[in-house]
C-alpha cells in the first residue's frame, strides 16, 4: 500500500480512528453471540473486526479504561490466533502488549505476573533473528548494500578495519570476505571489530569467520567487544589513527534514543497515560545520548558508515500514534512473513514471537528508558547524523543493482528496493520498511 510519508500519522490515523468508532459487526458485538457463529465470519470481516477491536483497545488502554480494554481483549482473543491468517497473527502479537499496557495501572499485578515470564533468551533471539533473515530478505538486502558500499569505499586500501555495531550476524561478514577475496588487486587485511552484548554469540561468529577467512586466504583478524551499545567505550574499539575505517550499524542506533529525559518525563506524567501530543520533532535534550554516541563515532573518522534502520516512526510520545504506526508497520512485516513461510511454520512462529513480538511489546507496553525500540524514519536520522558531523554518501548504482538482484532472486514479488537521494528503502508492496544509508565523517572540509 502506498504509505504516505511525512505526515503519516495524521492522515492514516484519522480514518482508522473513524473506523474504530464505527459499530462493530453485529455478530461480534453481541456478547451473546455463540462462538460458532463468530467463526462464520469471513476472514476479511474478521480482520476488520480485529482492527476495530485493536484500535479501541489501544485507546482504552491509553486512557486507562480497563473495562473497555478487557472487553476488547476478550473479543480479540476469540478472533485472533497465532497460527491464523496474517491479520489474526498480527492481532495475536499485539494483544499481549496491549494487555500489559493496560495493566500498567496496577503495578503489583504486573510484577507478579510478568516477571517470572521469561523474555526469550539471547540464544532464542539469535535463532529468531536468523529465521527472520531467512524468511524475509530485508536484512539480506541491507547487508548486500552495506557490503557493496564498504567494498567501494575501501577500494585500493590495503588494510581495512570494519566495526560492526550490530553484533552477531556472521552472514554479512562472510559475504564481505568473499567480496574482498575476489578483488582484482587481492584482498586487504581485514580487521573486524564486533560489538555485542553476549560473549558466546561473538565467539561463534569469530570461529565461523576465521575459518572462512583462512579458507579464502584473506588476512583476517577478529576483535570481539562485549558491551552494550549504550555503554560502549569507543576506545575499546582500538581504532588506529589514519586507518581506513568502516562502521556498520544494523538496527542498533535506535536503542540509544531511550534517553534519561524520557524517564523523568514519564515519571512526571501524572497518573495514567495521557496522550501527550508532543510533536515528534526531536527535542534536543531527549537525544543527548544518541548524539554523544554519534559524535564519538564521528571522532573515529570513518571512511564510511552504513546505517540500516527501521523506517517507521515508533517514537511518538503518545500511545495511540505509536500504536497505529506499529499496526501498519508490523502488518506489512507479517504479510511478508506470510508469503515466506508455510502456515504452521515453526520458524515463522519464532520470528513473530521472539523477534517481532518483542519489538511490538516494547513499543506498545513500555516507556521511558525501557522502551528501546524507538524506530524513527530516515529523515530524522539524517538530521541527527548531519548534526553529528556526518555527510551523506549516496549508495552506488551498482549497490542498487546488487540489492535488486537479491530481491528478484527470491522468486517473490512484493520485495522492492526504492532508491531516493542515494538512500535505499527496502519496501514491501510500496510500504518502506527499512532504510539503508551511507555516511562519511566530514572532517577538515
Amino acid at each position: 500500500m502506498v504509505q504516505d510519508e511525512g505526515s503519516s500519522s495524521s492522515v492514516t490515523s484519522s480514518p482508522l480512528h473513524n473506523f474504530s468508532n464505527m459499530p462493530l459487526h453485529p455478530a461480534v458485538a453481541s456478547s451473546t453471540t455463540p462462538l460458532w457463529m463468530m467463526r462464520e465470519l469471513r476472514s476479511d470481516e474478521r480482520g476488520l473486526c480485529l482492527i476495530h477491536l485493536l484500535l479501541n483497545c489501544a485507546g482504552a488502554a491509553a486512557a486507562g479504561r480497563l473495562d473497555a480494554a478487557n472487553a476488547a481483549l476478550e473479543h480479540i482473543a476469540s478472533l485472533a490466533a497465532p497460527d491464523g491468517d496474517a491479520m489474526q497473527r498480527v492481532a495475536a502479537a499485539f494483544a499481549e502488549p496491549l494487555a500489559r499496557r493496560a495493566l500498567r495501572a496496577w503495578p503489583g499485578l504486573c510484577r507478579a505476573l510478568l516477571l517470572p515470564r521469561a523474555s526469550p533468551t539471547p540464544a532464542e533471539v539469535a535463532v529468531a533473528r536468523r529465521h527472520f533473515h531467512d524468511l524475509c530478505p530485508f536484512l539480506r538486502l541491507a547487508s548486500a548494500a552495506a557490503n557493496q558500499s564498504i567494498l567501494e569505499a575501501m577500494e585500493s586500501e590495503k588494510i581495512v578495519h570494519v566495526i560492526d555495531l550490530g553484533g552477531a550476524d556472521a552472514t554479512q561478514w562472510l559475504e564481505l570476505l568473499h567480496l574482498l577475496a575476489a578483488r582484482p588487486e587481492g584482498p586487504p587485511h581485514l580487521r573486524l571489530t564486533s560489538v555485542h552484548e553476549h560473549k558466546d554469540l561473538l565467539s561463534q561468529t569469530a570461529m565461523a569467520l576465521t575459518k572462512e577467512a583462512e579458507r579464502l586466504d584473506v588476512p583476517f583478524q577478529f576483535n570481539p567487544v562485549v558491551s552494550r551499545l549504550d555503554a560502549l567505550d569507543v576506545e575499546s574499539l582500538r581504532v588506529k589513527t589514519g586507518e581506513a575505517l568502516a562502521i556498520c550499524s544494523s538496527l542498533q542506533l535506535h536503542c540509544l534514543l531511550a534517553s534519561d529525559d524520557d524517564v523523568t518525563a514519564a515519571a512526571a506524567a501524572a497518573g495514567g497515560e495521557k496522550e501527550r501530543r508532543s510533536p515528534e520533532s526531536g527535542l534536543s535534550p531527549s537525544t543527548s545520548r544518541a548524539d554523544a554516541f554519534l559524535g564519538a563515532l564521528w571522532g573515529l573518522s570513518p571512511k564510511v558508515m552504513v546505517v540500516t534502520e527501521q523506517e517507521a516512526s515508533h517514537n511518538a510520545a503518545g500511545l495511540t500514534e505509536r500504536f497505529v504506526e506499529a499496526l501498519n508497520y508490523y502488518a506489512a512485516l507479517f504479510d511478508c512473513l506470510e508469503l515466506g513461510a508455510a502456515r504452521g511454520s515453526v520458524e515463522r512462529a519464532r520470528v513473530e514471537r521472539w523477534l517481532l513480538g518483542e519489538e511490538i511489546k516494547n513499543i506498545v507496553a513500555c516507556d521511558g528508558a525501557q522502551r528501546l525500540e524507538r524506530h524513527e524514519r530516515l529523515e530524522r536520522w539524517a538530521r541527527r547524523l548531519e548534526g553529528a558531523g556526518f555527510g551523506r554518501v549516496p549508495l552506488s548504482y551498482y549497490a542498487l543493482l546488487q540489492a535488486r538482484r537479491v530481491a528478484q532472486g527470491l522468486g517473490c514479488d512484493g520485495f522492492k528496493v526504492r532508491e531516493e537521494k542515494g538512500t535505499f528503502f527496502l519496501c514491501w508492496q510500496d510500504r518502506a520498511l527499512f532504510s539503508v544509508s551511507a555516511w562519511r565523517g566530514r572532517r577538515f572540509d
Binding site: 474504530s20 464505527m22 462493530l24 476479511d44 479501541n56 589513527t241 508492496q429
Partner: protein
C-alpha cells in the same frame, strides 16, 4: 617523543649535529627535500567537538633521518633522544630524561609528505611518528633490501627480516592442483584458473552475467543490442516505467535469461494463476508482447511460450517476459514485429496477482498512450494495456484490473477475492472505511448504490474539507463497482486512489452477499442498533 625535546639537545652538542635540522616539528625551515610541502603545521578547525589531534607535516628528510641524536663521546647515533640520554649515563655524562607533560601534551598525528599518498590527507593522518617514518620509507623510499629466496624487495630492514623468516615456508595449492610458494602468484593464478571459475560464478556473479543471462539462441545482433540494452537499462531503472520508454523506443531490448521466454514463463507461472497467464499469452501470440525481465537468477526451462525471437531474427530477438508484476524489473515493453523496425512496443498489461493497475498510476497510462501512438504497426496492439510496473502493486490477490483497463483483462480477472486478505490490505480497507464514512456524511448522499444504507450513520467526520472532496470523488468514481456493506453501516467502493491504492479485492462488479441493497441493509443495521453493543467510544445516539 623525541621531537619534542630538542631544546635541551640544542644546548648540548651543536657541533655534532648534522647540518640539517632535526627540528622540533613545529618550526621547520623548508628543506630541500623533494616533493615535500612546506613543513607547515596545520591547525584543526576550531570548535570541533572531538578532541582533535595536532596535525603535523614533516619533511621527507626529517622522516628518513635516522640517528639524529648522536653521542658526543663515541658518535653513536640514536633515533630517540631518550635513548641517547640513557647512553650518556654510560659515559658518566650528565643526562636528563625529559618527561612528557601529560597535561600539555597534545595528541599528534602526522602526515605523509608524498602528495599522492593516502596519508597525505589530514583525515587519514597516522598517529605515530615511528609509524609515519616506516610508512614513508616503505612506500616511498628506495627498496634496498632484497630477499634471497624470492625476488621481493624491501625498504625497511625489519620488514625484510620478517619476510625472510617466512619465505618459502608456506605453500599454496590451487584447486586445480598447482603448487605455489608465493602468495601473489597464487592469487593471480586463481583469478584465471578454470577450476575456480564455476565456484566464483556461483558466489558472486558479475552483473554482466545477470544482464545477459545465457546467450542461448540470441543472434549476434541481439548480443550487440543486448549490450546496448544493458547499458540502456540503467537509464530505465526508475521505478516508474513511465520515464523510460520513449528514449529507448527505438531499441529492441533483449535482456534476460537464456531463454527469455523460459525465464519469464517459469516465473510467471510460478507467480500467477497459470490459466489467465497462459491465455493471455496465447491471445497475444505472435504479436509477442513482451516484458523485460531482467533477472538472471532464474534459469528455467523453456515454457510453452513461443520464442518469437528466433523467427524474427535480424534486428534482435524478442523479449518474452511474462508480464507478471516484478518489482524493479525493467518493465520495458518490447515488441518485435515482422516489420522488424523494432519500433513496435506492445504493452501487455497483466493484472498480475497483485491486483490491477491502480487508477492512481497515471504515469503508466500515459506511458501506454505514448507507446500506442508510437507503435507504427498496430499488430497485436490489442493487447495493449497498462504497463505493470513495480509500484502500486498491493497484496497478492488476484484482483480485478482497475477500471482503467476494462477491455483487456476482464477475462483475466478472477471473480471474487481470495479468501484471505493480507493484513496491510485490511488496514487500508479499514482506513478507507473510516474515511469514506466520514466523507460520505459530508458529501451527503454519496455515490449511489455504495453508501445508500449508510446515510444516517452519523460518524463525525474527522477530515478536513479536502479529504472529503477527495473521498467524495473517489466514491463517485467507484460508484460503478459493487460495494460491500460491512457491519451494516457503511459501504465502500473499490476506489483507486493514488494515495491509498486500494483495490476492490472482492471483485469488480461482483455482488457479494451483504451487498448494498438497502433491503439487505436493513436487518443488519437494525440488529446492530438493537444490540446496541459497541465497543469503544461509539455513541449509540449516533445510530439511528
Amino acid at each position: 617523543m623525541a621531537a619534542s625535546s630538542s631544546a635541551p639537545f640544542f644546548g648540548l652538542a651543536d657541533t655534532q649535529m648534522p647540518p640539517q635540522n632535526p627540528n622540533p616539528p613545529l618550526l621547520q625551515a623548508p628543506s630541500p627535500a623533494a616533493a615535500a610541502p612546506a613543513q607547515k603545521k596545520k591547525r584543526n578547525q576550531p570548535g570541533n567537538p572531538n578532541p582533535d589531534a595536532e596535525v603535523i607535516a614533516l619533511s621527507p628528510r626529517t622522516l628518513m633521518a635516522t640517528n639524529r641524536f648522536v653521542c658526543e663521546v663515541c658518535n653513536k647515533g640514536f633515533q630517540r633522544e631518550q635513548n641517547l640520554q640513557l647512553h650518556r649515563r654510560g659515559h658518566n655524562l650528565p643526562w636528563k630524561l625529559k618527561q612528557k607533560n601529560p597535561k600539555e601534551a597534545r595528541r599528534r598525528v602526522y602526515l605523509c609528505p608524498e602528495p599522492t599518498c593516502v596519508h597525505h590527507d589530514p583525515s587519514r593522518a597516522l598517529g605515530d611518528l615511528t609509524g609515519i617514518k616506516k610508512h614513508y620509507c616503505r612506500k616511498h623510499g628506495e627498496k634496498k633490501w632484497r630477499c634471497d629466496k624470492c625476488s621481493k624487495r624491501y625498504a625497511v630492514q625489519s620488514d625484510w627480516k620478517a619476510h625472510s623468516k617466512t619465505c618459502g615456508t608456506r605453500e599454496y595449492r590451487c584447486d586445480c592442483g598447482t603448487l605455489f610458494s608465493r602468495r601473489d602468484s597464487f592469487i593471480t593464478h586463481r583469478a584465471f584458473c578454470d577450476a575456480l571459475a564455476q565456484e566464483n560464478a556461483r558466489m558472486a556473479p558479475p552483473i554482466g552475467a545477470g544482464m545477459y543471462g545465457g546467450v542461448g539462441n540470441m543472434t549476434a545482433a541481439a548480443l550487440g543490442l543486448t549490450v546496448m540494452a544493458a547499458n540502456q537499462m540503467p537509464s530505465g531503472f526508475p521505478d516508474e516505467a513511465a520515464g523510460h520508454p520513449p528514449a529507448s523506443a527505438g531499441e529492441v531490448l533483449r535482456l534476460g535469461g537464456s531463454n527469455g521466454a523460459g525465464v519469464g514463463a517459469s516465473q510467471f507461472d510460478h507467480l500467477m494463476s497459470s490459466s489467465s497467464a497462459s491465455s493471455m499469452f496465447r491471445s497475444q501470440g505472435s504479436s509477442s508482447s513482451s516484458f523485460y525481465l531482467g533477472n538472471a537468477a532464474h534459469h528455467a526451462p523453456a515454457q510453452d511460450f513461443p520464442e518469437n525471437g528466433q523467427s524474427q531474427g535480424g534486428q534482435g530477438s524478442l523479449l518474452h517476459g511474462k508480464p507478471a508484476a516484478f518489482h524493479d524489473l525493467m518493465q520495458l515493453p518490447v515488441q518485435h514485429q515482422q516489420s522488424s523496425n523494432g519500433n513496435i512496443l506492445n504493452l501487455g498489461f497483466f493484472s498480475a496477482n497483485n491486483g490491477g493497475a491502480a487508477g492512481g498510476q497515471d504515469g503508466r497510462l500515459v506511458f501506454q498512450d505514448q507507446f500506442n501512438s508510437s507503435a507504427g504497426n498496430g499488430t497485436g496492439a490489442s493487447s495493449n494495456g497498462g504497463i505493470v510496473t513495480s509500484g502500486g502493486l498491493a497484496g497478492n490477490h488476484l484482483g480485478s484490473a482497475g477500471a482503467s483497463f476494462p477491455s483487456l483483462y476482464s477475462s483475466s480477472e478472477s471473480a471474487g477475492g481470495l479468501p484471505q486478505m493480507s493484513a496491510t490490505a485490511l488496514l487500508q480497507k479499514a482506513a478507507q472505511l473510516g474515511a469514506t464514512t466520514s466523507s460520505y456524511n459530508a458529501a451527503g448522499g454519496g455515490a449511489g448504490s455504495l453508501l445508500r444504507g449508510a446515510s444516517p450513520h452519523g460518524i463525525s467526520a474527522g477530515e478536513g474539507p479536502s479529504h472529503e472532496r477527495q473521498f467524495h470523488d473517489l466514491l463517485m468514481s467507484g460508484a460503478g463497482f459493487g460495494g460491500r456493506v460491512f457491519s451494516g453501516a457503511s459501504g465502500f467502493g473499490s476506489v483507486d486512489d493514488g494515495k491509498l491504492s486500494t483495490r476492490d479485492f472482492l471483485g469488480v462488479g461482483g455482488v457479494l452477499h451483504g451487498m448494498s441493497g438497502s433491503a439487505a441493509m436493513g436487518p443488519p443495521r437494525h440488529t446492530a442498533a438493537a444490540a446496541g453493543l459497541h465497543i469503544g467510544s461509539l455513541d449509540p445516539a449516533k445510530l439511528t
